[in-house]
Amino acid sequence: MSKKRKASLHIITSFLMLFVAGFTQVQAQDGKALFNANCASCHKIDKDLTGPALQGIEDRWPSKDLLKTWIKNWPDAVKTGDAYALKIKDWSPAAMTSFTSLQDADIEAILTYIREWKPATPAPVAGATAAAKSEGDNSLLFGVITLVLALVALILLQVNSNLRKLADERDGLPVEAAVPFYKNKTYLALTTVILFIVAGVYISKGAVGLGRSKDYQPEQPIYYSHKVHAGVNQINCLYCHGGAQEGKHANIPSVNVCMNCHMAINEYKGEPLYTADGKEVNGTNEIKKLYEYAGFTPGQPWDPSKAKPIEWIKIHNLPDHVYFNHAQHVKAGQVACQTCHGEIQNMGEVKQFSDLSMGWCINCHRETKVQFKDNGFYSIYEKFHEDMKNGKMDSVTVEMIGGTECQKCHY
């Protein structure tokens, strides 16, 4: 009996442990998401950015309530006359944004995340690894086998003809004069056929690939590193590419979006930067290039009307007869940016990750599951919901609701 009891106790404890662990993890996750969505564009935990480093923030403030007041609407905290609030107000010329929409619990989660944060390398995103996994390449093996077999066939042919010649000699039949193999019509025909097939394969492959530009990595007017922004500094992709959840284009941010942060950040002090060719890049100089476009002199107020647009080189080009909408994928489909753009957070200069071919699109539409239960739009698919309830199917792919039909992308 005692043994049984012990076991049950064990089970209960482990359940409890799991629950607690799971709960804290959820909260920490929330904190991270909230941090990335709200804070990361101006703050880093261990380094100063537009705003000060946040590590140990709770120790610096006299009380948590005041800190919360500051985060929600900083002028309120200044009004209390607190010495630290007055001091931190002048930390940078750029004023902090108000976050009146954040609840106390949200702030609590963010602070917990900051407290428990440990420096780590950013984990690669699941979708990217799956897509990036290269297929096993057996072509070399097949090539060698083919070559060996061809050689064997050639030798056998040669043996056969020699044997026949010997047999003919023995029987006393007249022997034809030996023809050198390069004049042998059989060989010539064979070689021609093989060459034709090989050339055909390569030409058609090349022709199919025309207009595709996978791995395209042009030099941009400014060395802009996604690694520094999205990777090291954890700025949310949508902070700059907000159009991705609104409409067709993700949109390259306008100069004023760059200047939101770079009015304050005027030098680069991070890890050394390298171009694709391995040349070192001076980050501070690149920020100066931005200032030139923006018509901004550090220390003076910025007049946006003096700015010139930056002519970025477009990397991802779709043919004109293809309709692609970012919102459909990012907002409705909840697809991670990295699925199509690769590990953008690790790219110094952006490189085209996918070939953007139709086959690539279609494959994804065949495999990807739509947000069938979460998105109210799909409630009209009564039959599928019924089937899912009855266990006849467990998920709905894009293809099943017509996602591979012509006029989903071509009109």
Binding site: L210, G211, S213, P218, G242, G243, Q245, E246, G247, K248, H249, N251, I252, P253, S254, V255, N256, V257, P304, S305, A307, K308, P309, I310, E311, W312, I313, K314, N317, P319, D320, H321, Y323, N325, A327, Q328, K331, A332, D374, N375, G376, F377, Y378, S379, I380, Y381, K383, F384, I401, G402, E405, C406, Q407, K408, H410, Y411
Partner: protein
């Protein structure tokens, strides 16, 4: 008595030429001349072909292995908050073209207005639009717009570098006037702020005045109303309240006053409830076949010179007097109409298109007698659409000739083109010291002026309009001005030394005092309209003193010859102000189905008499109809001669020749007008200062000449399957309500006797192919409310980047419209002139669930979607045209040339596309293209897509908000353009959708076109019912099953 429904004379008589003509879907000559010399001496011999093939292969290889072009992505410097590249914004504004007003919403995509929609918030227009409003966006991108202020020296523009320099030049000129009066000559101004501004301007120049001149005058109506009701104004009409409508030559659905408003009202009485079928009754008395006449239940014709007699006779009939009309049929019609008018108890309305104040006064008396005043005629709210009075202009002309006018400032008006005595005007204009035009183009009047400072297009302007008293509609800019132009009101402000120098500020100040606060002003701009809290209806106080004199003056027939001419406005072109618009030029006329020209319309009887063409004879029908070259007649009126091709329109009065105005414009106004018709305004008669758009004594002679008219009527054939269209009379429908349903029931009986499910059982295919798990798009079209106005056709052009092909291509049957409106006449086979009904049937891809086009495509470029769409994939199409051959509805269009310049250099298009098509590929015109729709290249088929880009956008919006799509949320372009709501669209899987309801709850009228061929269209129609007492024989709907089995 049996009626025959027919589209063309050839079809009526089943002529050989007609049959040969429709046998070939794509008429095409082989590219080489067939002669005896063999292929080597042909234009493109085999060796040349091989040379070209070799060269192009090598060239393509070399070109293809070059590097890909580098594309730039240039973001905003400072992005405006509400602008997201790739997402359209919508701004409420107002289409204003002279006196015509429609409240609209402009779709602005990435800073460019590309589409006009109706504004649902306007109680007047209720979201309806006209073809001209739809097309107006293209006017902004017209390459012939004036681009800078200029001095005009001998017809040539000399640019003035800045507005300041220009203002100074004008100030100097004004100083030289020495107090000679300034006259502002405009078309009708509906803007209240502009009227105030004009008043202030005139006050600065003593002795000056404002003259309003309308291209097509409504002067007679204004004067008659002044005499009868003491107001020089036009009341509001309520066609929706009228159970009986009598129109004396007024084309109120197409061109008269405010057709969008009237079409909306009219359609309310034309919707039919199957359980209790009633309809409004519409009589039309006219000389030519107008679009409105085509929609009438009963139609009677009279000579143009008898217009007054008819009006007087109708007055006599409603007041119990004797009807003095010789023609028995007309007399009977008048008596019947009068009886109905009297019986309606005030729910009746009589309108007249005449510009004779006597006739209009008689009409006022009729309306008074039948009690319409205060019921269907509202004097509490007056209409401002037309304000010009002929006599004012005559006086101005005299003053100008006498040198009594110092400066003439012209805005909108174009008398050098539209005035009957244009030569007199031109001469008088030369006598004016300073002439300044504010027109947007170097039109006929502007080129005679000394200065021009071009106005903005309305989509670039600030402004307001008051279409009806108390109802305001606002104009706000949707794009920064493309050229160095300015609001014409700016000129008045600057030149009169007003403290406010910009009209935008003046307008805001004007409305801030009226609306009281910034919030209200913002709300007014957002909604686009400000309307009274309550709609008031009141009768005017009638003074019938002048009626007896009017009857005496108009009631006797005018002196007339054998032939009489009527000038009319076409639905698309109107008075000609927008004639340079290629979309409008290519829109087929509702009745004649002709494009790019005006012509003389005559009756079948007149054709026989004048030209010896007997349309009941097959050979004659072929000679006239199959050949696009029409015989030309010479028309002589008052010493002026015009030679015009003849178009035979059944239902035209026998002695009448109809000619459309608005054509034959100066080539300076646009590429589209080149070669498009002749100017008919000079044929108008001016007597006692009143313009009559008719001539009662014309000499007509046949000539040997021929002239090609591009009609698209006979381009498509249903191979004799006339059951594509269904109509009957109200009396017949009441007697045999199951008339149409029986035909559908027969199909079930014959082909689906087991389950009664014709859709699934009647097919060889697996019924599961018909599963539509989510959305199943469907369209429903009510033939009873379609008036044929063509707004949908132009809306489709704009939404779907449908190319303009030009006259030469239309002649070859290469027109590209995705939606066409088929016009059918119903008449006795032997007498085509006795038209009983005209049916307008919008026809577009029916998106058949069992589509014959899909099965025959060798490359699967056209196939079916799970949402019921018949998809067309241009980049897969190789141009075999099998699909078009196999389409029973003939709705597929082939790109015979690179109309859009999608894949060739402009120089390579020369000679293959028409001049206007080439011009449409100019960068400026191309700004109108919808970036969400592929521009098709040469050699591919295209067709209606149910506006799939809108469906996708609507679904995405719903997904973004995590909700199902709402009924009415997505509208196709044709649906939203329609002023009568004849087209409904939605998800037929949704049991609450309008489309589903129309199908489920109107089983008696609902039908699918050619349902018997089991192609399962996703478009259904509602059979047309006309309100007549004629009871037709109903052929036994059911044929024995045995017979069907054979």
């Amino acid at each position: 008595m049996s009626n025959k429904i027919w589209q063309s004379f050839g079809a009526l008589g089943k002529s050989e030429g007609h049959q040969a003509n429709v046998a070939d879907e794509f008429r095409e000559e082989l590219p080489f001349e067939a002669d005896d010399k063999g292929l080597m001496s042909a234009n493109a011999p085999r060796r040349d072909f091989l040379k070209y093939l070799g060269f192009s292969t090598v060239a393509a290889t070399v070109a293809a292995s070059c590097e890909m072009p580098v594309k730039k992505a240039i973001p905003f410097v400072s992005k405006p908050d509400n602008v997201i590249p790739g997402v359209a914004n919508y701004y409420a504004t107002t289409y204003v073209q002279d006196g015509d007003v429609v409240s609209v919403v402009a779709k602005v995509r990435d800073g460019r207005p590309i589409k006009i929609e109706g504004n649902d918030l306007s109680p007047i227009f209720q979201g309806g639009t006209s073809a001209r409003a739809q097309a107006s966006v293209l006017d902004m991108y017209d390459t012939k717009r004036l681009r800078f202020p200029a001095q005009i020296k001998e017809g040539k523009l000399v640019e003035v570098s800045t507005f300041d320099a220009f203002d100074k030049m004008i100030a100097d000129e004004m100083a030289k006037l020495n107090g000679a009066p300034v006259v502002l000559l405009t078309s009708t101004i509906t803007s209240p702020s502009t009227k105030q501004l004009v008043g202030e301007f005139l006050a600065k120049f003593p002795g000056s005045r404002h003259v309003t001149y309308d291209a097509v005058s409504y002067s007679g109506m204004l004067l008659a109303n002044e005499a009868a009701y003491g107001k020089r104004a036009i009341p509001s009409y309520h066609f929706d309240n009228a159970k009986v409508i009598v129109s004396l030559g007024a084309d109120f659905l197409g061109t008269w006053l405010s057709p969008v408003e009237f079409a909306k009202q009219y359609s309310k009485g034309r919707k039919i409830d199957e359980k209790n079928p009633t309809l409004s009754k519409h009589y039309q008395f006219e000389s030519i076949m107008s679009m409105t006449g085509a929609n009438a239940d009963e139609r009677f014709t009279h000579k143009p010179s008898e217009a007054g007699v008819v009006a007087a006779a109708l007055l006599a009939a409603v007041t119990g007097g004797a009807v003095n009309v010789a023609d028995a049929k007309l007399k009977a019609g008048l008596s019947k109409a009068a009886a109905d008018l009297k019986a309606a108890g005030g729910a009746a309305l009589v309108v007249s298109g005449s510009n004779d104040s006597n006739v209009q006064l008689i009409v006022n008396a009729i309306n008074e007698a039948i009690g319409a005043n205060g019921k269907t005629i509202n004097w509490a709210v007056t209409s401002n659409y037309r304000q010009g009075v002929d006599a004012d202009f005559e006086t101005l002309l005299a003053d100008m000739s006498a040198g009594k006018v110092g400066a003439l400032l012209i805005a909108g008006a174009n008398p050098a083109y539209t005035y009957a005595k244009a030569e007199a005007f031109k001469k008088a204009l030369a006598a004016v010291i300073l002439t300044v035009s504010f027109n947007t183009r170097l039109d006929e009047t502007t080129e005679l002026c000394k200065y021009v400072v071009p106005d903005h297009h309305y989509l670039e302007s600030w402004g307001d309009a008051e279409p009806k008293s108390g109802y305001y509609s606002f104009i706000q800019p949707t794009i920064a001005p493309l050229f160095k132009t300015r609001n014409w009101q700016d000129n008045l402000l600057k030149w009169s030394g007003n403290a406010t120098t910009e009209y935008a500020n003046y307008l805001k100040a004007y409305w801030m005092t009226k609306l009281g606060s910034q919030e209200n002003w913002d709300a007014a701009l957002r909604d686009g309209v400000v309307v009274p809290a309550e709609a008031t209806v009141a009768a005017g106080t009638f003074n019938g003193a002048g009626v007896a004199a009017a009857v005496a003056a108009a009631g006797t027939p005018a002196k007339a010859g054998t032939w009489e001419v009527v000038l009319y406005e076409k639905t698309a072109i109107g008075s000609g102000a927008q004639a340079s618009n290629p979309w409008l030029q290519e829109m087929p006329d509702p009745v004649t189905k002709a494009t790019w020209d005006n012509y003389a319309t005559i009756s079948a009887a007149a054709a026989k008499e004048l030209l010896g063409i007997d349309l009941t004879k097959n050979g004659d029908a072929d000679r006239y109809e199959v050949n696009p070259k029409k015989p030309v007649i010479a028309i002589k009126v008052n010493g002026k001669e015009m030679k015009l091709p003849v178009i035979i329109v059944p239902g035209t009065q026998k002695n009448t020749i109809g000619i459309a105005v608005g054509y034959g414009r100066s080539e300076n106004v646009g590429v589209a007008v080149k070669g498009a018709g002749q100017n008919a305004y000079p044929l108008a008669t001016i007597a006692n200062g009143v313009v009559t758009y008719a001539a009662y004594d014309a000499t007509v002679t046949a000539t040997d000449e021929l002239y090609e008219v591009a009609q698209n009527q006979t381009h498509n054939s249903y191979e004799g399957r006339m059951e594509v269209v269904k109509e009957t009379s109200l009396a017949t429908f009441k007697k045999h309500p199951e008339l149409f349903k029986a035909q559908r029931d027969m199909l079930v009986h014959d082909y689906a006797s087991k389950t009664g499910d014709y859709r699934n059982e009647g097919s060889l295919y697996d019924p599961r192919l018909n599963d539509r798990p989510g959305v199943h798009w469907g369209m429903s079209i009510d033939l009873n409310t379609c008036t044929g106005c063509g707004a949908c056709v132009v809306a489709c052009n704009a939404e779907n980047n449908v190319p303009v092909v030009g006259k030469t291509e239309v002649l070859r049957g290469h027109d590209m419209h995705w939606i066409r409106i088929d016009r059918y006449f119903v008449s006795d086979a032997a007498n085509p002139d006795d038209v009983k009904d005209v049916i307008f049937m919008p026809m577009m891809c029916q998106h058949c669930d069992n589509a014959p086009c899909e099965n025959v495509c060798p490359v699967a470029a056209t196939n079916h979607s799970s949402e019921g769409l018949n998809q067309m994939t241009y980049n897969r199409c190789i141009g075999t045209r099998y699909c078009a051959n196999n389409c029973p509805y003939k709705v597929r269009r082939f790109n015979w040339a690179d109309y859009t310049g999608a894949d060739s250099f402009a120089d390579n298009q020369v000679g293959h596309v028409s001049d206007v098509t080439l011009e449409m590929n100019d960068d400026l015109y191309r700004m109108v293209l919808n970036p969400d729709v592929t521009v098709r290249s040469r050699g591919v088929i295209e067709k209606c897509s149910f506006c799939v880009q809108r469906l996708q956008a609507g679904k995405l919006e719903a997904k973004k908000q995590s909700r199902p799509i709402k009924d009415g949320e997505v509208k196709t372009a044709c649906q939203s353009a329609c002023p009568t709501n004849a087209i409904e669209f939605g998800d037929s899987n949704d049991k609450n959708s309008v489309v589903r309801n129309m199908r489920d709850h109107s089983p008696l009228r609902m039908y699918y076109a050619l349902e018997q061929i089991h192609v399962l269209p996703n478009v259904n129609y509602m059979a047309k019912i006309r309100n007549t007492d004629e009871v037709m024989e109903v052929a036994a709907a059911h044929k024995p099953a045995e017979e069907a089995a054979h």
